[in-house]
């Protein structure tokens, strides 16, 4: 299975996402924002970082990149797309998921090992998790506050589109502690925490067993690989 990772000017975690794809057992394909080709990949990751410096609104300028035409088209046709942090912000700016992301309520960038509760597993990227499972994934952002108007929020909650919720600490003022959401169809998932930073023992978040040993992020990538096998 081929999973494309799109690099935008200012992408930072693109190589980490490629590594995660590789460790999960798929073939990572580096895609360039300025191209119009998805090179035949089966799924897409929009990685974290500060595309275009995140200067206008996070993800806003990247969402206008040439390749986004193809990304939006593929997403609408059902291709699995995972937006991580800046990638989540791009999904929101491109209206592929509902809501918006604004500056953290405390005003600072925050980097921490974040506990999340899996609220729903009904998506291309989450079938390897169990509902109610608690996982630890690094979080690092300055603008991760999830907001939506009351009506949208009620719909997301009602339709089971809230995928992950922050546990113990709400690190950025997100409404309803929302850490990640999906689109109606379930092929597009966006979240602020970084699963690609929890895929390799020694370089992940701390766990009770040992420092830096957390690999809970692998589940995102193994989920999408399994789904591809089922659909094949």
């Amino acid at each position: 299975m081929k999973i494309g990772v799109v690099t935008f000017p200012g992408s930072l975690d693109d190589r980490d996402a490629q590594r995660a794809v590789r460790l999960a057992g798929a073939e990572p394909v580096a895609l360039w924002h300025g191209s119009h080709s998805l090179e035949g990949v089966d799924a897409l990751v929009l990685p974290g970082g500060f595309s275009y410096g995140d200067y206008l609104r996070c993800g806003a300028i990247a969402s206008l990149s040439p390749i986004m035409t193809e990304v939006i088209d593929a997403a609408n046709k059902g291709m699995p797309v995972l937006g991580i942090c800046n990638g989540f912000q791009m999904l929101a700016e491109a209206h592929l998921v509902d809501g918006g992301l604004i500056r953290n309520d405390h005003g600072n960038f925050v980097c921490r090992d974040q506990k999340l509760r899996v609220e729903n597993t009904d998506s291309a990227w989450t079938s390897d998790f169990a509902v109610g499972q608690e996982i630890t994934i690094p979080l690092k952002n300055g603008e991760g506050g999830f907001i939506a108007d009351a009506e949208t929020l009620a719909r997301l909650e009602g339709e089971g589109q809230v995928m992950f919720r922050y546990v113990d600490v709400n690190p950025n003022g997100s409404l309803n502690d929302i850490a990640g959401v999906r689109n109606v169809r379930g092929n597009v998932v966006g979240l602020m925490p970084h699963p690609e930073h929890a895929v390799e023992a020694g370089f992940g978040p701390d766990t009770d067993a040992a420092m830096r040993s957390g690999v809970d992020g692998l589940g995102f990538f193994t989920s999408v690989i399994k789904q591809a096998l089922v659909n094949a």
């Binding site: 206008l56 609104r57 806003a60 809501g99 918006g100 953290n104 506050g145 108007d149 003022g173």
Partner: protein, 88 residues
């Protein structure tokens, strides 16, 4: 060269944590009397030629589609200023 000013504010019904933080800071240093602060953006765009109707239409489109995100923000003003400074 003429300057166009576009003003964007966070939607009134949504949270504005930055504004809240500033309001809190003002209260803490004893500047009360201010009941709320909201923080938006102000864009100054310089255009190369005269401000024609086509330019106006284009600026309006840019303001709505790029300079603001309609899910969370509103465009609250677009002003066209000549170099002399008066507003049309």
């Amino acid at each position: 060269m003429p300057t166009i000013v576009v003003e964007v504010m966070p939607k009134a019904e949504l949270l504005d944590p930055q504004g809240k933080a500033v309001a809190g800071a003002l209260a803490r240093i004893g500047k009360d009397g201010f009941s709320s602060v909201r923080i938006g953006k102000r864009f100054e765009i310089t255009v190369d030629g005269p401000v024609t109707d086509a330019v106006r239409a284009e600026v309006e489109a840019i303001a709505n589609d790029i300079l603001s995100n309609s899910v969370i923000e509103d465009v609250v003003g677009i002003h066209y200023e000549t170099p002399a400074g008066e507003t049309h």
